[in-house]
Amino acid sequence: MSDAPASPELALQRRLARAGRNGIRAPRLDDPVLLPGPTRASMTDRVCAIVLRERAFLWWWIAFIPSFLLFALLVISICYLFWAGIGIWGIGWPVAWGFAILSYVWWIAIASGGTFISALFFLVRVEWRTSINRVAESMMLFGAASAGVYPILHLGRPWFAYWLFFYPNTMGLWAQFRSPLLWDFWALYTYVLASVLYWYFGLLPDLATVRDRATGRVRQWVYGFFALGFRGSDKQWKHFHATYGIMAAIMAPVVVSIHSIVGLDFAGGATVGWHSTEFPPFFVFGALLSGFAVVLLIVIPMRRLMRLEDFITGRHLDVLCKLLITSSLLLGYAYIMDAFTTYYGGDPADIRMFGVRVHGMYMPVYYGAILFNILIPQLLWIRPLRMRQPVVILICLGVIVGMWLERYEIVITSLHRPHLPSSWGTFHATFWDWATLAGTIGLFLSGILLSLRFVPAISMHEMRSLIGKQRGERAA
């Protein structure tokens, strides 16, 4: 297993030995994708040990209990909503789309970033994807789940949600296929279901590993059940890789389609500030930005708390920070075009509404979005700052807030100044708006924490292949 390391590797090993292997190792810009040291066996044991711990880490409980309480708040909010109706939210006329839609867009953006990392970077075969794709996929799953609750809640009469399906009915009617809102329904639920299939399929070999390493009867049974009899036979591997590759090739365009269709929900309406062909790419850029930010927010604490420094190195932080800058610049371009087309287009209603953003009541929202999404992330051009984890975390938190402000700006400021001045109005969020938003954050965090606890945090079968490549064992 232990081939003689090449000389740069040897130097790195010496450096690590000096730093003390038990201490927490700070990330460095010149880190390789994988630190020398872990073998396939030791990596498997390390990752399985986290999943198979008898008792969860203390930090896990500290994070999980508040998250779960927030999730409980979501359940309460939904029950009250179904009891009382959507009048409990701040929406009305003219701002008929409030927190439900803006948070839906926000969540689906976060989920999309995870798919992007997992699927697109699988297709281009980058090595750094291997350490973080499982986390990115869990993020996609629970981001999509958090997004997925909103459209049903927003329907007003959620018990008629099934009207959106194709089905023969006594009314003799069909759904309106020409409406972007119906496209969105199908895009979202395709995305949620496809994400579940993609995540679970990629997980099969790792569930099989956990099954074989589990000692307790219950765990053996549960992991054995979910591994569905995966044993690593040549036939299983052959079809696995063929299928997984195609699934990734499908997920990459799906993620672009889902967020473009969300953009079309807006662009399809003749509403002031929405009716623009720019929206689909604008939304996709924002999705990338928030996705990379949330991956960083999960990966940085996970690396340290779960002692995964060998697998998540400075290289990963560096790459993700660079992607964050790239997507931030793309989004900056979209912001500029948004302003340019408004003034160049010359529609008085558009210009009037945009004025409220730039120098009116909603000024803090507009400039907040620019500050958090475009300006502050540019700090990451400074190389040493990319390795300062608290700074990166703060920037990423800023991006998450900034993205939410951007959605607020798109949904609410656009709606509050319709063409007809007599219809102008304002929006004030109620307690239940905030409670539902906080509740979905609880749903997301609970899901991520549960997946970190019970699902291997690193894709072990892909990591084995990477370890083999790093050691030149696959030359034959």
Binding site: F166, L197, L228, G229, W237, A242, E473
Partner: protein
């Protein structure tokens, strides 16, 4: 006894052993490895199955929407043509994707005959290493002579463990 199972410490040893076993014309070999021996496989029908399912899903749902809007319940919306096909594309695409994903997912289990939660090979003690860092080859046969021959060849290959599959 339905077969024998041999474990090797490294991938290289297993590959070497497979060459030797094939040279000795020992058939019905099945490997069990913690990662794919060949990550760029060829010969799996699943990509084609997914493609066909995806296209069928796309065409099927496109046709359904066309039927609904052109024949079953035509709506005149601002004088636009009844067969206004561009808006049908997004839903047809999404549902095509969903059928392709589902075909790949469920097709995999059909082709691999999964889920099979228990197999005789699971009774071998060393087999738990297969998804960690053990490189296994199983030779299954009902004929005792073939297995004896295979065992003799395996013994020359210096395996870490040789076990009988019950």
């Amino acid at each position: 006894m339905s077969g024998i199972l041999a474990a090797f410490d490294t991938e290289r040893d297993l590959r070497h052993a497979l060459e030797r076993l094939r040279a000795e014309r020992i058939e019905a070999l099945e490997t069990y490895t913690p990662m794919a021996l060949d990550e760029r496989p060829s010969g799996s029908p699943l990509p084609l199955v997914m493609f066909v399912a995806g296209m069928l899903g796309f065409i099927g749902f496109f046709a359904l929407m066309t039927y609904a809007d052109v024949w079953n319940y035509p709506l005149n919306i601002g004088g636009r043509p009844k067969f206004a096909w561009p808006p049908f594309v997004p839903i047809a695409f999404e549902l095509g994707v969903l059928t392709a994903m589902a075909a790949g997912f469920f097709g995999y289990f059909v082709i691999c005959r999964m889920p099979r939660l228990h197999e005789p090979i699971d009774e071998c003690d060393s087999f738990r290493e297969a998804m960690r860092d053990g490189w296994f080859v199983a030779i299954r046969s009902e004929e005792a002579e073939r297995l004896t021959h295979a065992r003799a060849v395996l013994d020359t290959l210096n395996p870490a463990v040789v076990e009988v599959i019950p």
